[in-house]
Amino acid sequence: MLKAVLTGVATVGLFALAPVFYANQTLLFSAMMYLVLAQGINVLYGFTGYLPFGYVGFFGAGAYAGALSVLRLGLSPVLALVVGGVVAVLVGVVLVPLLRLSGAYFAIANLAAAQALYYVVSNPDLQALTNGPYGINLAVAYNATASYAAMVALLGLALATVVYLRHSRLGLALRAIREDRISAELAGINVVRERTIAWLLSALLAGLCGAAFAWYISVFYPETVFSLNVSIFAIVFALFGGAATLAGPIVGTLVLYGLYSAIGISQPEYFQLIFGLVIVGLVLFLPDGLASLSERAGFEVP
């Protein structure tokens, strides 16, 4: 427990202080954003085994809900963050029946739901509500420093959530469900309730993260916040580090996103080849992520 808390505090501290030493704040913000999303994936996939390919749907819903509550309702950006999270949870509630599916069926249905959300938001007939395909300009609330601080706080919340799940009865129940749903039920675990909690927690993190992203980036289009790349990156980062751990997604995001950025800048012509080889190597030799390597060597990963 102490080790996990220390790891979380160190990570939050790293990002809180990093802008003092490194001026590309957007890069740091993006790294944090993916880290929060990777932990959101971790909450769902790591603890229950449901892999949400359409996770970006919650992110986009949060981004739009947050931005529109500033523009249409005149809320403060901080309150808008909360609205973003709440709307993502409401979307999660609507999509709860998807949890009846499993494996690839769940992943595909979840992806379809995210696409449906994208088409609803970008529908020109909803221009009065969402501004349709014409994008959002949130310049009126733009504040890079405050939105960066908000993302640091969200990172703390995401890490605290995972620490809690790692060391609570709820987390234990979820892991039991992941291993064998029927055995878990026989042991008295309320499978439907527990996995719904994990699903909504995961949606909440993505929604809050989307609203913070909207605040930070301030000008965006539906294709920006509903881009499938966001889901894929978060999933790959979580899996690369090792799901169901706190440190796995942290290491996965920092290493892979760092690599992604570094190669993309220094060797753009080799980027796809190198990044592709890293991913293939991961799938072939480390299917349980870097955390499994560490555990094989006798180090317990928090």
Binding site: A10, Y22, N24, V219, Y221, A247, V251, P268, F299
Partner: protein, 413 residues
């Protein structure tokens, strides 16, 4: 303890990977060379237009450096340019940190955005925060411009909402057209054009008998074409990205349907691409917005005329330039004119310089004129029609009548 050290090591290495992106040393007070930073999409959805546009900008930089640099009034001498370009792979979430990288790490003097509104959108607030003037070649979305942001200038296209002005006037004034069908992709670029057309046709003698938005990734127009045909329109206006236009025109050929008038955007912008995918026969009698090189601006007061540029580009690069190459090159010309006009090198001085020559600058891309928000309002797009010529097609401008080089062939045979 060992385990904690191992983990801390991993985090430290990862952090170094982030930090190791390379803070570049730069002396702001000794501009032996001016750094011009931009992004391009080497892969992904925007790769084709983005790389063409980037090639145009690169060509301008090469040309300037070959001539010993660009004249910088604030320094009273010519200064060579260094182009720093990163590949954003058509991703906005990748583009945002890269724009920031250009400003904070590479400390560029001039910032140029990538192709189109989506990849430009993330640059606008970043440039504004860092008080950098953003030279935007082709990001035409209305959301990018606001009167209280002086740090953006649209260089090579008008904002998308004003593109269909001439088209709407043509439809209203061209007697045989009374029933119009509108089919458009639901994105900012084409959705705003559809809204403008709808607005400008309202209350006229022209009736909109079909008005349908489709997803931008639509690749099969078979059913939609028959729906359009059922509305018996005199003119069919299809607004889409290049992939939409190709799918639409291919579908039209395959369906065997004939409309009296068909309009699409990209035959006039990416003629080679459309010719390759639709064939010249498929483009014959199609209406479009002709842009350079289909529309030749040779009477210019800055930079080469269009024909001279096309000749030199072909000679040096061994290939033909398309409109987006011209747009990238034209952005370079606007930058060159800005540097030659500004008394100081600070970013607001550059913006004031743009206002000084706005409305007076004629380049190979036409009149450069921006409004208070930095949006381009000078280049109005005429309406042209491809007509069969020998084994291919040729472009003739049909509206505005004052610019027309021929009369529209209507109905299409």
């Amino acid at each position: 303890m060992m385990r904690q050290k191992g983990l801390a090591g991993c985090v430290a290495i990862a952090a170094l990977a982030l930090i190791g992106l390379g803070p570049a040393a730069w002396a702001a007070d000794a501009p032996a060379v001016l750094k011009l930073g931009t992004l391009y999409a080497g892969s992904g959805a925007f790769a084709v237009p983005s790389t063409s546009e980037h090639e145009g900008l690169k060509f301008w930089v090469d040309q300037v450096n070959a001539a010993g640099g660009t004249y910088v009034k604030a320094l009273g001498r010519k200064v060579r340019l260094r182009l720093i370009a990163y590949n954003d792979r058509s991703s906005t979430t990748t583009a945002a940190p890269l724009y920031n990288q250009l400003i904070t790490q590479d400390k560029v003097d001039i910032l140029v955005s990538d192709f189109g509104s989506v990849l430009t959108s993330v640059a606008v607030p970043i440039a504004q925060t860092h008080k950098m003037l953003l030279f935007d070649p082709t990001g035409t979305g209305a959301a990018l411009f606001s009167p209280d942001n002086p740090y953006v200038v649209l260089c090579s296209l008008p904002t998308s909402a004003i593109w269909p002005y001439a088209l709407a006037d043509f439809l209203k004034k061209f007697e045989p057209v009374r029933r119009v069908a509108l089919l458009y992709a639901t994105n900012d670029f084409t959705g705003s054009q559809a809204a403008t057309l709808r607005e400008r046709l309202r209350g006229s003698r022209v009736e909109l008998v079909y008005d349908q938005g489709v997803a931008t990734n639509t690749s099969n127009y078979a059913v939609l074409l028959h729906n359009v045909e059922a509305a018996r329109p005199d003119a069919v206006i299809e607004f889409g990205y290049a992939n939409n236009d190709i799918a639409f025109l291919q579908g039209l050929q395959a369906s065997g349907l004939k409309f009296k008038m068909v309009f699409a955007i990209f035959p006039g912008q990416l003629f080679s691409l459309l010719r390759k995918n639709v064939s010249e026969a498929g483009l014959a009698y199609t209406y479009t917005y002709p842009t350079p090189p289909l529309l030749a601006y040779n009477k210019v007061n800055y930079g080469p005329g269009l024909e001279a540029f096309l000749r030199e580009y072909r000679q040096k690069r061994g290939e033909d330039a398309n409109f987006l190459t011209v747009a990238g090159y034209n952005t370079g010309l606007v930058i060159g004119k800005t540097l030659a006009t500004a008394d100081k090198l600070d970013q607001l001085a550059l913006r004031r310089a743009v206002e000084q020559f706005s409305g007076k600058l004629f380049t190979l891309d036409g009149l450069f004129k921006v409004d208070r928000s930095g949006a381009q309002v000078g280049e109005l797009l005429p309406v042209g029609q491809f007509l069969p010529s020998g084994n291919g097609v040729k472009m003739q401008v049909v509206f505005p009548f004052a610019l027309a080089t021929g009369k529209p062939v209507y109905p299409a045979p």
